[in-house]
């Protein structure tokens, strides 16, 4: 999004603070002085990652700070779900499990945390999956379900409450 604010000390910080308040993740801040603009204002472009539905809150907060939003760019919704897998993850080829999601092209495993207590004991891992749309996410979860049942793993899904 492209923001406009007073060119005074502390203004950029004031504009960025609401982003963290709504749980957003700043990917890039592009700050370029436009020679044509009058000296009082500063124009900033921000690329950020935000949870679904939080954009409205951010806009409200920014307005409160006296920041003018010139333009909101392309919204690329990032659906994110966390699941936990329990079982013999290494023996059942964990990289294949991850690849089954990654190879779809519409969803990917973006994070993986794992704990392996001892050889031959079941290990546990947490996978964060990202996708662009909700349908893609449901598809990815259903792929994971069949992989889990095929490999004898216990899949723990998050509780969704959207009816």
């Amino acid at each position: 999004m492209k923001l406009e604010m007073k060119d005074a000390p502390g203004q950029l910080v004031a504009a960025l603070k609401p982003i963290s308040e709504v749980g957003g993740n700043i990917i890039a801040v592009i700050h370029q002085r436009d020679p044509g603009s009058d000296d009082d204002t500063l124009s900033v472009q921000i690329v950020l990652e935000l949870h679904e539905g939080r954009l409205g809150d951010l806009v409200t907060l920014l307005k409160k700070q006296g920041v003018h939003i010139q333009r909101i760019g392309e919204e690329r919704l990032l659906y994110q779900r966390t699941v936990i897998l329990i079982g013999h993850l290494m023996h059942t080829d964990l990289s294949d499990t991850v690849d089954r999601i990654d190879s779809t092209g519409f969803a990917e495993v973006s994070e993986l945390s794992m704990s392996m207590p001892a050889i031959n004991e079941r290990s546990s891992s947490r996978l964060t999956i990202k996708s662009v749309t909700k349908d893609d996410m449901e598809m990815a979860i259903s792929i994971l379900r069949s992989v889990a049942s095929e490999k004898g793993l216990l899949l723990i899904e998050p509780l969704e409450e959207i009816v």
Binding site: V83, S115, R122, S123, S124, L154, I156, L159, E161, V163
Partner: protein
């Protein structure tokens, strides 16, 4: 109103105690346990019965059976609180049919007959002009059916999510809070008297699934059975899995879930944010309903216990009294 009670386990004794203690306007004219029975049209002395049960293990005369109490005693409503048999529903199922056959109202805490034969029993009751109520079968003291029928009358129930098994919730709470293994937490649950010697029924989600079936049948009348529930238990969970959930301010709970429009009927351990209203501690139960008008409503309460379950039964009895028996 006159009441007969079959079953003198923890729930039956709780009901008798509360009727004896509180002035509810209920007269007990028949009581039976598995070995004996007592009939007194003028009203049984409940303190005597409780004392006798405590001392001898039997509540009455060995020559009088539960069948006889149901067939011969003079009562308006039967309280059927015999142990649950999830496979046959017996002996509760026969007792309920017998009472309905005599045109008597029935209040039960017995999950077996309700999960197996709710539609049939309800039809029989309607045909005979009596009612069958089963508030105590799901969520212990939580008045879930009263809320759906009355408080939420006119709402369409879109989905149910519930923590319906106190034993599982206790085990998961302990694994999460103390980092115990499943085996350690189960042992603790046994020592506290929350888990049976054979915990299969609880930890594999069968008990929660039966309650989900009862909820679904009562709310939507869809005739689902235990076999229709997609079920995963908690016995394979690791402390690591709980810790991994914890890292994201979440935890794991056994959630029963029914969303008819999506064809979902499932009991499974789920990752759930700690701030979610369904994340309750210890043996508590919780039920969230999603409805078209009221949107989300969550009830939390004691899912088991003698007096807590008696609360649900007495609520049903007094509802029947006010609505059907002493109205005319």
């Amino acid at each position: 109103m006159k009441v007969a009670i079959v079953g003198m386990g923890s729930v039956g004794r709780g009901v008798v105690e509360m009727i004896a203690k509180k002035r509810l306007g209920l007269t007990v004219t028949g009581i039976a346990d598995s070995k004996s029975g007592i009939i007194n049209a003028g009203g049984i002395d409940l303190h005597d019965v409780l004392e006798k049960k405590h001392k001898t293990g039997s509540c009455g005369d060995k020559k009088i059976s539960a069948n006889e109490v149901i067939k011969k005693a003079d009562f308006d409503a039967l309280v059927e609180v015999t142990p649950t048999n999830a496979t046959t529903g017996e002996p509760g199922l026969s007792y309920i049919k017998m009472a309905i056959g005599r045109k008597k109202h029935v209040v039960t805490s017995n999950k077996g007959p309700i999960a197996l034969a709710y539609r049939d029993l309800k039809k029989r009751a309607e045909k005979n002009g009596v009612v069958l109520r089963h508030e105590a079968t799901v969520g212990g003291a939580i008045p879930i059916f009263h809320m759906i029928e009355h408080g939420l009358a006119g709402n369409e129930i879109l989905a149910i999510f519930g923590v319906l098994n106190g034993t599982c919730n206790f085990i998961l709470t302990r694994m999460s809070d103390e980092g115990l293994t499943y085996e350690q937490a189960l042992l603790e649950a046994r020592q506290m008297g929350y888990a049976e010697a054979d915990p299969t029924y609880d930890v594999q989600g069968i008990d929660a699934a039966i309650k989900l079936v009862i909820l679904a049948n009562t709310i939507w009348g869809n005739g689902v059975t235990l076999n229709d529930v997609n079920r995963t238990g908690i016995d394979l969970l690791t402390p690591d899995a709980l810790r991994l959930a914890e890292d994201e301010d979440s935890t794991i709970r056994l959630i029963a879930e029914a969303i008819p429009k999506k064809g979902i009927l499932r009991v499974s351990p789920r990752i759930i944010e700690k701030s979610h209203p369904l994340v309750v501690e210890g043996t508590l139960n919780a039920i969230t309903l999603e409805t078209d008008m009221a949107k989300e409503i969550t009830l939390i309460g004691k899912g088991a216990g003698s007096i807590e379950t008696a609360s649900a039964i007495i609520g049903d009895l007094l509802f029947i009294r006010d609505r059907y028996v002493e109205r005319a």
